[in-house]
């Protein structure tokens, strides 16, 4: 016991040292973000002179006001919202239904269909984005929300996650309902879906973040600046920001565009970490 008291004292010191180092590293991690936020709150005239400093002195909201007057950034934001929300709802819809079928129902060709779905996990977006592009342009559907959403709805990983979740639900819950002659749809809607709200929240959050931040497909599918999502729109001003005088405004648009997703993260961060735990499995 005496020995262990000494070692535990030493242990506490090293614990504190590690914690201190971690805090220092975390501050370093945040520095670029704080700097960008500070720049977005400074007048452009000041930024032409110097970009140094982490405090917005002198302070101004002009960059944000100018942004709202421009109308493009709010429009991009709206497209991102429409696309991300629709995509999230559709992913939840198709994944939970298919996941339920794979987890709980018996049907011919189940194994084959399952393998066909799992194989899709191996195909990266980069392998199909060109044929997708020619397909969508054949239908004349570029620059539509439909084209931005649909190719990214059938994600095998979503089905996989929902299937894993439904498998963990005790069978007895369903059997009781089946004896009462409830249809599969009733069982699914009244029993399974309410139980799976945590799983659906997690899948939904990840889908939303993915949809919001996706770059390659919106970049090739939305060719008109009017139809850009906020990620693509920001990239389009970024390539020539060096020549523009509106550095403060560019920084403001980056902050403005990130606000919804950061808010979502702060509200739901518990679910996000729990969701990773769930998807990692054992």
């Amino acid at each position: 016991m005496m020995v262990s008291a000494r070692t535990s004292g030493l242990r506490r010191v090293t614990d504190l040292l590690i914690l201190g180092a971690t805090i220092a590293f975390a501050i370093l991690w945040l520095v670029p973000v704080i700097w960008v936020v500070a720049m977005s709150l400074k007048p452009n005239a000041e930024l032409m002179h110097s970009t140094a400093g982490f405090l917005p002195i002198p302070f101004t909201l002009d960059n944000y006001i100018g942004l709202l007057k421009l109308d493009t950034v709010p429009r991009w934001l709206m497209h991102s919202l429409i696309v991300s929300v629709t995509m999230t709802l559709m992913v939840l819809f198709v994944s939970s239904m298919a996941g339920y079928a794979f987890a709980r129902l018996e049907f011919p060709f189940k194994k084959t269909l399952f393998m066909a779905m799992v194989a899709g996990l191996m195909v990266p977006e980069q392998a199909v984005f060109i044929p997708l592009h020619t397909m969508v342009s054949g239908w004349g559907l570029h620059n539509t929300h439909f084209a931005l959403v649909m190719p990214r709805v059938a994600v095998p990983i979503g089905v996989f996650l929902m299937m894993q979740f439904f498998r963990s639900v005790p069978k007895e819950l369903e059997e009781a309902a089946a004896i009462d002659h409830a249809s599969r749809l009733t069982i699914f809607l009244k029993i399974m879906l309410p139980l799976s709200i945590p799983a659906l929240t997690t899948l939904g959050l990840f889908t939303f973040i993915f949809a919001w931040n996706d770059f390659l497909w919106p970049l090739v599918s939305a060719t008109k600046a009017d139809m850009y999502t906020v990620t693509v729109g920001l990239a389009s001003i970024q390539s020539n920001f060096a020549f523009s005088e509106g550095l403060g405004q560019v920084m403001a648009s980056a902050v403005f565009a990130s606000l919804p997703i950061v808010l979502l993260f702060l509200i739901f961060q518990r679910f996000i970490v729990a969701g990773v735990a769930m998807s990692a499995g054992k």
């Binding site: 971690t22 520095v31 191996m122």
Partner: protein, 296 residues
């Protein structure tokens, strides 16, 4: 229940199953399976993005690819980038996870800090880091001035451009693997640690003999996810260096994108994307195989 009604129930289930699967299956077939095979078909053509020019040329695109110096340069750059990011990302994520694992408000805040950068989109991340690394008005310029050295143009520097993109990627992407490690750490049975405590095992011994072996499956998972993810690098290079200086940071996906959407050579670009697909598949398979071998 009689045999007949059981059969009827089963038939109803089969019908229900297909109806439940239908929405996913239709979208999956239309937007993933079909484009995949259509891509293979396109890659056998001399196919232009605009206009109607397309001619069947067999495997000629693949033969051209074999002789394309820029393609191999892009493969080399991508492999270089993967080699720079995957081990460091995995190690950093593991170290951070170990540091922020546990109870307490402070640790919760620290977890959020390291995870938060991964919710930013690629255009925000590259904007931030292009500014940080800029030689004109970058974050480090005052530091260079202080020691009296001319600020380095990181992104325009032939050897520093790639590590700069790797650093940006590390900052952006460490959150998810860190969270995966946190999840794995929380699954380790506390009895193992209690036993180690009784033996007065040191911190390092515990890490080596208990923690690391317990999470080896997650390490493998993170490595596979990282390899697949980093092979697809596009935005960072496209937005920060445009592949420069002198093709030093030209990545595979970027070359595919330019070939199809700047040069309009869709057939050739599709052949290239299947090259990427096979490369990624090979690496993932090798990884999984090695991991399984290590388990035996």
């Amino acid at each position: 229940m009689s045999a007949n009604s059981l059969k009827a129930a089963h038939r109803r289930d089969v019908l229900a199953a297909y109806l439940f699967l239908a929405p996913f299956a239709v979208i999956y077939a239309t937007f993933l399976v079909y484009p995949f095979f259509k891509g293979l078909w396109i890659s056998l053509h001399d196919w232009e993005l605009a206009g109607n020019y397309r001619e069947y040329i067999g495997f000629l695109n693949y033969e051209d690819l074999w002789l394309d110096a820029i393609f191999w340069k892009a493969v080399g750059n991508t492999l270089n980038f993967v080699a720079m990011t995957v081990p460091t990302m995995t190690a950093l994520a593991l170290v951070l996870a170990l540091a922020v694992f546990g109870q307490g408000r402070l640790k919760g805040v620290l977890r959020s800090v390291f995870f938060m950068s991964s919710v930013f989109s690629v255009s925000v991340v590259t904007l931030i880091w292009s500014m940080v690394l800029s030689a004109d008005n970058g974050l480090l310029v005052p530091l260079f001035n202080m020691i009296g050295v001319k600020p380095i143009n990181f992104l325009g520097h032939p050897t520093l451009a790639m590590p700069s993109i790797a650093l940006t990627t590390l900052w952006w992407g460490v959150g998810l693997p860190m969270a995966l490690f946190l999840a794995a750490l929380s699954q380790i049975p506390p009895e193992l640690y209690e036993a180690a405590e009784l033996d007065h095992a040191g911190r390092f011994t515990v890490l080596k003999n208990i923690t690391l072996p317990s999470i080896r499956h997650t390490v493998l998972l993170v490595l596979v996810l990282q390899i697949v993810g980093q092979f697809q690098i596009f935005g960072q290079a496209h937005l920060m260096t445009q592949g420069g200086p002198a093709n030093r940071t030209r990545m595979l996906v970027q070359y595919i994108y330019e070939t199809s959407f700047r040069d309009w050579q869709v057939g050739y670009a599709t052949a290239m994307s299947f090259g990427l697909f096979i490369l990624m598949l090979g690496f993932t398979m090798a990884q999984l195989w090695l991991g399984r071998k290590g388990d035996e």
